[in-house]
Every structure is written in structure tokens, then in C-alpha cells.
């Protein structure tokens, strides 16, 4: 009897002895049905283990309750990425709660292929994650499909985008380190083409300038990293180690945790005491930062808030809501851990704090 993959509404109706229309009404819950008829249909559902086809439903409803998430990123993997993984997890959970499912694609060529794919799938809306080229946005706009951007940048004022307040975060990082007495900073800056890296750097520098770079009270050196990985941070510190030590930097700041950790490991391996000799600070508040020894001081990114709101706002957009804010910024706060010295050590550091 149930030796078939799937039963159709027609079969269901037949078994229950009613019309398809009636059967449809009871399984979908829209429309009337007398108690006895309802009962008969429900029994047939049990018997056949009937599962209504979401694809047939999508066909008539002209919507799928699916959301497309495209991560534009040249490097794989994506799901196990320390930051994007967290955001995707939050998106998954928020989507589930609102009755959506997620189609996840990563697009390495920043092409239009993944967008086309999502369009063909007839997703209800699109979440575009990370840096993407202007032509993608322009392309998406053509199709009048609800969409929003996460953690990307755009000059386009129409685009709804959710971002971390990375510049402020960078400033706070500088403040934290300055307050602890540091005056000489070594900065490892991740790829400048990424919004977050460049803004974090900008904020950090800006705050240093305000503390008196011109007057010579504060000094810093920036080393640029072509990648944002642990390995890259490690490699850079290995290259610059001698210069780093000779110049006597007391603080190391990186525009993300992975770079900071890579660099810090080199210091630790060479016997440099962190934070006693050098304070190290990252950005992202990834899980590892808390697990490391010494645990890494960092700046948090509200991945949970971003992921949750991305889905909620997209849902509003799908519902036809026009008045959603164009830009939503998420606060970044300093998470003090073991890799930066305590305030009491203040006087031991720096060159210009007399």
C-alpha cells in the first residue's frame, strides 16, 4: 500500500472518498470541512503517510519560503570560516524560526552565476554576504527581488545593508591599548579591499592620531597582509620579528583574530611573554580567541544580531514593507582577555608617557 515514494493529493482524496478540493482544504487548513470528512481525510493521511509536495505548493503560491544566501569570497571553505560560519549559523536559526529555509552558495568568481541559480530556484529573497562587485548589485536590482547585504560595502543608497561598526571598533581598540600605557604600535592590516579590514585600520589610526602621532608621543608601523589567515599573520611576524623586537613595540594590533593569533604564536614560540612584554589584540571575537593561551583580547562583532536581523528584515522586505532602514550598524566592543596587560602595569610601557 505505501510501497511508493510519494502519494499525490488525488490518491489521498480517493482513499478518503472526497474530492481533491476538499482534501486540499483539510490538509492546508484553508477552507471548510465537516468534522466527519476532516476525520476521514486525516485518517487517509496517516495511512498513506501523505506529505504534501512543497514544490507543487510553491508553484501555485508563487513563493518558495526559501531564502538564498550567497557568500562572495575567493577563498573556501566558507561554512567553517570563523566569522562567516557564525553569521550563517545565526541566519539558519533565524530562518528556521520564521519558516524559511536557506539555499547557501559561495561564489568565488564574484560572478552572476550564483545569482542566476537563486533566481531560477525562485527564492523569496536574497542575502548577499561579504564584499561584492557593483555589477552584482546592479544585476540583482533588475529582478525586483527582495535582497540585502551583510558585511559588505556599497555607495548605493538604495541598498539595505547590515554592517559592523568597524571604524568605531578600531578606535576602541586603540583606546584600550593606549589606556594600558602603550605608545608604540605594530599593526598588521588585513586585505585593504575588504571593508572591515580597511575600516578597522582607519579607526585605529584615527584614534592614534588624536592621541598625538604628530607630536611624536605615539608611533606606529603598519604591515599589510595580503590575506586574512592565521598562516599569513604567522608568516608576516616571522619576517618582521627582528625589526619588531629591535624597535621595541609593546603592542601588536591586527585587523582580525586570525592574523593576531598567527603573529602571537610566533612571539610565544620565540619566548616573548604576552602580555608582559608585548600586548596583542585582534578583532572578531572568534571562538578561538577565548580558547587560546593567553586568551586573546579582541573586539566583538555582533554576528548573532546581524544574522538574526538579516533574516527578519528580509522577511519584512518580502512582505512588501518599504520603510526598512537602509543602513543598520552593529556595535563593536572591546573584549578584554589575557593578551593585553592590566591597567596597573601602565607605567612600565611606552616611550612617551613620561
Amino acid at each position: 500500500m505505501d510501497n511508493k515514494l510519494n502519494h499525490s493529493l488525488r490518491e489521498l482524496a480517493q482513499l478518503a472518498g472526497v474530492s481533491k478540493s476538499t482534501a486540499s482544504r483539510v490538509i492546508s487548513g484553508n477552507g471548510y470541512a465537516s468534522p466527519e470528512v476532516r476525520e476521514r481525510v486525516l485518517q487517509a493521511v496517516e495511512q498513506l503517510r501523505y506529505k504534501p509536495s512543497a514544490v507543487a505548493r510553491a508553484m501555485v503560491a508563487k513563493r518558495t519560503y526559501n531564502i538564498g544566501v550567497i557568500v562572495f569570497r575567493d577563498k573556501l571553505p566558507i561554512v567553517s570560516h570563523t566569522l562567516y560560519g557564525r553569521i550563517i549559523d545565526e541566519i539558519l536559526m533565524a530562518a528556521e524560526a520564521l519558516g524559511y529555509s536557506i539555499f547557501l552558495k559561495t561564489d568565488r568568481e564574484m560572478s552572476l552565476r550564483s545569482t542566476d541559480y537563486m533566481l531560477e530556484q525562485r527564492v523569496d529573497g536574497l542575502i548577499l554576504v561579504s564584499r561584492l562587485q557593483k555589477n552584482v548589485i546592479d544585476y540583482v536590482k533588475n529582478f525586483h527581488i527582495p535582497y540585502l547585504m551583510v558585511n559588505g560595502s556599497t555607495e548605493d543608497p538604495d541598498v539595505v545593508h547590515l554592517v559592523s561598526n568597524d571604524e568605531t571598533g578600531g578606535e576602541r581598540a586603540a583606546e584600550h591599548l593606549y589606556e594600558r600605557g602603550h605608545r608604540r604600535f605594530f599593526i598588521i592590516a588585513g586585505p585593504g579591499e575588504h571593508r572591515s579590514h580597511s575600516l578597522r585600520l582607519a579607526g585605529f589610526r584615527k584614534r592614534l592620531e588624536s592621541f598625538g602621532v604628530s607630536s611624536g608621543k605615539v608611533e606606529y608601523t603598519i604591515v599589510e597582509s595580503p590575506e586574512s589567515s592565521f598562516q599569513s599573520g604567522r608568516k608576516l611576524m616571522e619576517e618582521h620579528y627582528v625589526a619588531f623586537r629591535e624597535a621595541g613595540y609593546s603592542a601588536l594590533f591586527s585587523t582580525n583574530d586570525m592574523l593576531a593569533l598567527g603573529a602571537m604564536k610566533v612571539l610565544l614560540e620565540r619566548g616573548v611573554r604576552v602580555p608582559e612584554e608585548v600586548s596583542v589584540m585582534g578583532y572578531d571575537n572568534t571562538e578561538v580567541s577565548d580558547m587560546y593561551h593567553p586568551a586573546l583580547t579582541t573586539v566583538s562583532v555582533d554576528a548573532a544580531g546581524i544574522g538574526r536581523d538579516a533574516v527578519a528584515i528580509l522577511d519584512q522586505l518580502i512582505g512588501g514593507e518599504e520603510s526598512v532602514p537602509r543602513l543598520i550598524e552593529y556595535e563593536s566592543e572591546v573584549i578584554v582577555r589575557q593578551s593585553t596587560n592590566g591597567k596597573e602595569d601602565e607605567t612600565c610601557f611606552g616611550t612617551g608617557n613620561t
Copy 2:
């Protein structure tokens, strides 16, 4: 003209001045069309930015080219999980390569809801990840849908399952430590109800026994951890620290990296030198294990192989292939890093190696 969300085949055909059948033939590539007609249709496609509806296609093809992945796990998040995240990443990539997309659900209640959802979505097949109750398997079997299990356990001989050879891995871990001269072992064992934790422990013990536990040459203590997290490893080592040190264990083995790292951090914080005083070893070869200082010696899990094969085999099953192996095991190998001592230190350790 293109001020509409989506155009149908009918509109396309109309614009090109052909029938729907003909239009369908050229866009789907099945069937004949004269060059001129083809050209006209293709132009219309351009003009309308026509995207064929995957849902309509799925309706007639009676397949979706979607695969459902259900992770049975009581703890969230899932995607950013150090091991599952990697497997999911591989599944995503392999699926993409074979033309499938993934529906990802995590099922915390080990219920049938997520299965029902996948069935309604009419996925072509199912990948069931992690421990799941027998009733889920039985339920799935009723629907005659292709499926397989990843990293789970079952006595059911029909079920295709892909697993790590965790017992052998456990044995190898014991060998590695024993060869380095260790004779007194402290073991932190993750939740016994998980196949991987219990097998890793079993393998480790088995090998120790063979090295001579009964003769008193080898000793070990097992502490059970109710969770498999970093925090849990940390907490356990904090509780057992004094006893651990007094008893003079020279080797610490945990059934996964997170537990090992949590415990190791406690040791490091209390000034214990790793590996000089205590060697530490984990399991999973997570990314963090390589980043840590000292980098953690561990046992690898072939996440890439498992993820890739899961999709490939499911694809065969979907294609009607019957003769796929029921059990596929993946080798685990010891990855030697900094947290275990080198062979030359051999004589410094152990109590029973004269």
C-alpha cells in the same frame, strides 16, 4: 518591459514568435530547433532576462536536485562546529560539483519533523549526520528515499554509513604516546553515547591493555566528560588538577581536540610545561589544534573524504545504483605536533620502562 519579477515560458515563446514547446526545447537543450528559431528564442531570453523556474521543472521531472542534510545534535550552533562545519563544507562543495544543492537542518529533538520537512521538499536524497535514534532510520526507510548516514552508528545492516575508523585511531594515539615513553595516562573521555567518543576511548584502552596494564607496566585513569566542549575539558582539568599532578601522569589524552585544549589551557595557566612535563593529545585535527601554542598533537579525521563520498554515494543511490558498499571507513592518522614530546626524550618519562 522587464518590470516584472519573473517571466514565464509562455511570454518567452510569445516574444520569440514560437510555441511553448519550441521555446522549451531550446532553453532546455532537449530536442530540435532550427538555427534561426533557436536564435530568436535566445534573443528573447536575453531581452526578458528569462530564468526558467526550477520549481516548475522539478514538478515535471519529479526530482529537485536538492539533497537534505540533517544534523542530529542537541547543541547548537552546528555550522560553526569545528568538525561538523568541515564536513558540511565538503558536502556543500561536492554537491555543487555534482549539480545538487543542499537543504540543511539541524534537529535538536531527534524528532521526525526535520525528516518530514525534507520529504515535503521532495529532496532527491538524505544525508543523516551524527547520532540518531533508531526510530528515525526506521521512519526514513518507509519512504523509499535514498539516504545514508555520516558519522553515526547503527546495527541495521541495510544502512549505508560512512564513518571514521575511530577505534583504530584511538589505538594509534595510544601507540604514539607509548612510543614516546609514557606509561601513566590520564584520559578525558567525551560523552559515551556518541559513537566516535566511545570508540576512540575503546581503541585507546585496548592498546594500553596490550601494552601491559595487567602486569602493572601501564596505568591509566579515565574521567568522563558529559560534554565534548572546550569549557568542559577546562572544567574537568580544574577539578582534577591537584590529583592529576600528584599522581604524576605524564600523558593526557582526550577523545577530541576541544576537550584536550580546554584541559591543556588549565595546565598552561598553572605553569605546567607542555610537552616537557606533560604531553597532551587530542582527536579530530581541528583547525585550532594547529594554531595553538603549543600546537596540539592529534588524530586526523578525513572530513574531506567523508563529505565528498557522502554526496557521491548518495548520487549513485539516487541514480538507482544498488551495489554500493554498506560501510565505508576512513583512516585516522596521528598528526604529530608540539604538544607531545619527541622520541629522544623517551627515557625521561614513565614509571615502568626501567
